[in-house]
Amino acid sequence: MTDITGGQDASDEDLMLSYAQGDAAAFEQLYARHRRVLLGYLVRQLRDQAVAEEIYQEAWMRVIRAREGYQVSAAFRTWLFTIAHNLVLDHYRRQGRRAELVLADGDELPDLADTATPPPEDLLAGRQDAEQLLACIGALPFAQRDVVLLRLEAGLTPAEIVAVTGADPEAVKSRLRYAVQRLRKELQDGD
C-alpha cells in the first residue's frame, strides 16, 4: 500500500483517501487538523458542551464509517462541516426545540446589549473583545450565527458555507452581511 499522506503537506482529501485504504495514521493526521475548529463550531453553535461533544463524536464516526465509499467530490473540510451542520439541525428537530428566534407574543427580539458578558476587568485585555464578540455571536439568530461561525470558526469561504448549509448563495451573503453589521455595531457600542 502506498502511503500518499506525505506528511504534513498532504491535502485533507489525500489523507482521507489514504485512510480509506486502511492507513489509520492518515486519519489521525486528518483528525488533528480539524478537531479544534469542529468542536469550537459545535460548542458555539449549540451552546451546550455535552451535546456539542456528542455531535462532534457522531460527526467523526460518520466520517469513519464512510471511509470506504469516500470520493473526492468536495473539500474534506466542507464535507466534514456539512455532516456536523446536518447533525445540528437533526438535534434541533429531535428536541422539537424552537430556535431562539421564536418570539412569544409581546416579546422583543433579543437585545445584544443585554447579553451578559464577563466583566471587562476580569478579562485579559487581548481577550475582552473576543469574549464580547463571542457573546454577540451567541445572541445572533440561528442562521446568522451559523454562517458567522462557519466563516470565523471553521474558516469557510461563502461558497463553502453555501455548500455546507445548502442555502441559497444570496441568502448566505445576506445573513453574513446582517450578522457582521450587527456584530460590528455591538462591538462599537460596547467600546
Binding site: 489521525e28 462532534y56 416579546d107 464578540l133 455546507v164 445573513r175
Partner: protein
C-alpha cells in the same frame, strides 16, 4: 471604507477574524480524542467501530433499554390489580364474555408447580383435559391448547378472543389470602360461545363490580390533527422546530423557500404563489423584514416577504386575505406600522388564534 464594508462585508471581515482568533477552536478532551481515534483504528482493522460513549439520555434510546422499559411497564401494569378483590378478569371490549366462571376451588392448586396444572385446568375447562404443560402439548396445538400458568401474586394477562365466536382465554383468580398464597389459573376453552351454559354469562355478570378488573380500554380515536393539507410537512416541521427563517419571494411571485440548510427537504417545499399582484420589492436579498403569511383560504397559503419599503403591499395582502403573520425574522429595525395595525386587528377579532389553532402553530408577534 464603511460603504465598502456594507457592500461586501463577507469579503472584508478581517477585523472580526482577528478578534475571533483569540477564542477560535476548542480543545477536545483526551477521552474524546481517544475514543474517536480508537474507532478509526478499529475500522481499518476490520472491526466494527467501537460504540461511542453516550450520555445517559442517549443510552436510554438503545433497543435493549427500550425492551427493558416495556417489560418494566408491563410488570408494573399487571401488578396493579389487587389480588384480594380481582376475582375475574373480563375480556376487554367483550360485554358478555360468556365464559364459565369457576367457583373458588375447593382445593387450591399447587403453586409453583406446573405438574398441578392439569387438575386446575380440568376444573376450569372440564370439556377437554388440559395438557400438563406446554411442552407436552402436541406441536400443532400449542396455540390452542389450554394454557395454564401460575403466579404468586399477580393476575395473569387476559387474552382477547382471536375471532368472533371464539371464546378466547379467560382467567380466574382464586382468593387464597386465607391460605397465605395465591394462584392464577389461565385456561382456554375451545367450546363455542353459543354452546356455553347460560349460567356462565350470568355468573360473570353477577360478579361484584369491584371485582371486575379491566386491564385494557377500547381503543379511542386519536385526536384530529390540525389541517395541514395546504402546507408541506417538511415546512411545517421546520416551522415548529423554529428553523424557518425566510420565505423568499422572487420577482416572478413564486416563493422560494429557504429553510437555511435543510438540504433536500428544503427542495421538497413547493413554491408558494402569491394570489395578488402584490408588487414585492426587487432584490429580496437581505430583506430585513420577512414574513410568512398564511391565507385564511385553505387552498391558498400565501407566503410573502417584504422589506420595509415594500411592506405596504404586503400589508394590504395581509388585510385582504386576513392572513396571519406567523414568523418574523430578526434583523429588522421594527415592523412597518401598517403591519402592526393589521396584526392588532387580526388579534382583536380572533383571527390569529383561529389560524394558529388551525395550523397548530405557535404565535409570534411582530414588535
Amino acid at each position: 471604507m464603511a460603504t465598502e464594508q456594507q457592500k461586501r462585508p463577507e469579503d472584508n471581515i478581517d477585523d472580526l477574524v482577528s478578534i475571533y482568533s483569540e477564542v477560535r477552536g476548542q480543545e477536545p478532551t483526551s477521552d474524546l480524542d481517544a475514543s474517536i481515534l480508537a474507532a478509526a483504528r478499529a475500522e481499518t482493522a476490520g472491526q466494527s467501530p467501537a460504540e461511542p460513549r453516550r450520555p445517559v439520555a442517549e443510552a436510554w434510546r438503545t433497543p435493549f433499554a427500550a425492551v427493558a422499559s416495556v417489560m418494566l411497564c408491563t410488570v408494573i401494569y399487571f401488578s396493579l390489580p389487587d389480588p384480594d378483590t380481582a376475582d375475574y378478569l373480563p375480556i376487554p371490549g367483550v360485554a358478555d364474555p360468556g365464559f364459565e366462571v369457576p367457583a373458588a376451588p375447593a382445593e387450591p392448586a399447587a403453586v409453583g408447580s406446573m405438574a398441578a396444572a392439569p387438575a386446575a385446568a380440568e376444573k376450569m375447562a372440564p370439556q377437554r383435559p388440559a395438557a400438563a404443560s406446554m411442552a407436552e402439548a402436541p406441536a400443532d396445538r400449542v396455540s390452542s391448547t389450554p394454557l395454564v400458568s401460575y403466579s404468586e401474586d399477580r393476575a395473569a394477562e387476559p387474552v382477547p378472543p382471536q375471532s368472533a365466536g371464539e371464546s378466547g382465554r379467560y382467567e380466574s383468580f382464586a382468593d387464597h389470602q386465607a391460605r397465605g398464597r395465591a394462584a392464577t389459573v389461565t385456561a382456554e376453552s375451545e367450546e363455542p360461545a353459543g354452546e356455553r351454559s347460560p349460567e356462565a354469562g350470568v355468573a360473570a355478570k353477577s360478579a361484584p363490580a369491584e371485582t371486575m378488573v379491566r386491564l385494557a380500554t377500547p381503543a379511542t380515536s386519536a385526536p384530529e390533527p390540525p389541517d395541514t393539507r395546504t402546507l408541506p410537512q417538511p415546512f411545517l416541521d421546520a416551522l415548529r422546530d423554529g428553523l424557518v427563517q425566510r420565505i423568499h419571494v422572487a420577482g416572478d411571485m413564486a416563493a422560494e423557500s429557504d429553510l437555511h440548510g435543510m438540504g433536500s427537504e428544503a427542495a421538497t417545499v413547493p413554491a408558494f404563489t402569491l394570489e395578488t399582484s402584490c408588487a414585492m420589492p426587487a432584490g429580496q436579498d437581505g430583506a430585513p423584514v420577512l414574513l410568512l403569511l398564511l391565507g385564511e383560504q385553505e387552498a391558498a397559503p400565501v407566503a410573502a416577504a417584504g422589506e420595509s419599503a415594500g411592506s405596504t403591499e404586503a400589508s394590504a395582502l395581509a388585510r385582504s386575505s386576513e392572513a396571519l403573520c406567523v414568523r418574523v425574522v430578526t434583523g429588522q429595525d421594527g415592523l412597518p406600522e401598517a403591519f402592526a395595525h393589521a396584526w392588532a386587528s387580526m388579534r382583536a377579532d380572533g383571527t390569529v388564534r383561529r389560524l394558529l389553532d388551525q395550523y397548530g402553530l405557535q404565535q409570534w408577534s411582530p414588535r
